[in-house]
């Protein structure tokens, strides 16, 4: 996946300035940076939930044209996990997961149920399949949201602060699922403040500040010997 020369502004406010980023197949990229630096907007521009002012997104060698149809097709390949889960509250856990395959991939219900049960098993929530999201804890909701995204069999997964809305004791179960995914070779772009996760799982860490990529490199480098002073300042605040 490749992002080239991405620009985005909201009115006067420039949120992304010339962002370019290449993510290799199977690579896990963790994006860190202060609040308001444009991390969410970057993820949202990648799957066109936000329309960038300039720049291209290429996935699996295909340039994504800015046409409704192309974008919809691309979104099937790019899973997104949100900070606030955004599960569909009127559907059961299983209903949430089979929705994409049935509606978008036109999969037969039986087949979608099998696939979804497999994924729920994987995130450890098969026993909750007939519950409604309102009955789940935050950590469980986020694991369902991950299963829902995986049900589309995406090539890339985008995570926007997947554990930021969780009580501390629930963070681990979600990170556990994400680690498992990384181990299986999923291509991932993860915005997070979980530095432990970044150290352990990331192939590369990107530090964003003020609409730009300020520094990037392997986690040891970025965390242990950051070159840029803004990275240093940010990291010293976190620890």
């Amino acid at each position: 996946m490749e992002v080239a020369g991405l620009y985005k502004s909201f009115g006067e406010l420039e949120v992304l300035k010339d962002i370019s980023l290449t993510v290799a197949e199977g690579e896990v990229v963790v994006v860190i940076g202060p609040s308001g630096s444009g991390k969410s907007t970057l993820l949202r521009c990648i799957n066109f939930l936000e329309k960038s002012n300039a720049g291209d997104v290429t996935i699996d060698g295909r340039l994504i044209e800015r046409k409704e149809k192309t974008i919809n097709r691309m979104r099937q390949e790019v899973g997104m996990v949100f900070q606030h889960f955004n599960l569909f509250p009127h559907m059961t856990v299983l209903g949430n997961v089979i929705e994409g395959p049935i509606q978008v991939r036109k999969m037969k219900k039986q087949e979608a149920v099998l696939l979804s049960e497999e994924l729920l098993e994987k995130v450890g929530l098969l026993d909750k399949k007939d519950e409604y999201p309102a009955m789940l804890s935050g950590g469980q909701k986020q694991r369902v949201a991950i299963a829902r995204a995986l049900a589309m069999k995406p090539k890339v997964m985008l995570f926007d602060e997947p554990t930021s809305a969780l009580d501390p004791e629930l963070v681990g179960e979600v990170l556990g699922v994400m680690k498992e995914l990384a181990r299986e070779g999923m291509t991932m772009v993860v915005v997070t403040h979980e530095m432990g996760f970044a150290r352990e799982v990331a192939d590369r860490v990107i530090f964003m500040d003020d609409a730009k990529i300020v520094e990037e490199g392997p986690p040891e480098e970025v965390f242990n010997s950051p070159q840029n002073e803004r990275t240093q300042a940010f990291l010293s605040q976190i620890y």
Binding site: N47, Q76, M80, F82, N86, Y132, A134
Partner: protein, 220 residues
Amino acid sequence: MVYDFSVVVEKFPIFVPAAIETLKITAASILFGTVIGLLTSFCRLSKLKVFYLPSTLYITVIRGTPILLQLFIVYYGMVGLVRLDPYPSAVIAFGLHNGAYISEIFRGAIKSIDIGQMEAARSLGMTGFQAMRRIILPQAVKRAVPPLGNQFIIATKDSSLASTIAVRELLLKSQQLGSSTFRPMEYLIIAGIYYLIITTALGYLVHRLERRMAVSDRLG
């Protein structure tokens, strides 16, 4: 005693046809109004001026003028163009009237659904139409049920205005019998009881529906 309330009991059954007429006008205008209301709410939510402006004008006009005026415009005012019978006039006028209010109910309900729902649906690759139909509308309709129920009750009561154009519904029936027998109060009370029965039943049905739809909100 000026009043003879035994009349109320005795004559109660002869109001059944009038009550059916009231129910028919109400049901038809609610149905018509819901269809118009849903379409109008989409127009109002559209960014395109061709949809947004006419629908906004429609709502402004309906909400800013009396319902009785609207009824008279359809029944008397349109005579130059078409001559409509009382019953269709009432259904058209009340349907248009309710449509404006129902539209605002739907619009509010749709807007109240968290934007994250649309984004989650779109991020799975759903089209805007699919997301609306599968994700947004089911949640919005659920939220719209209480105010819709309220509007349906208002519509029931407003249907009495059709008496002014000689639709043989409850109020007209009670006025006619009341003046011919010199017992207006007794017959007005009969009509009142029928209205109460209808509105209470509607309220109960809406309440039942609300509870049934709340399944997914219930905690363990």
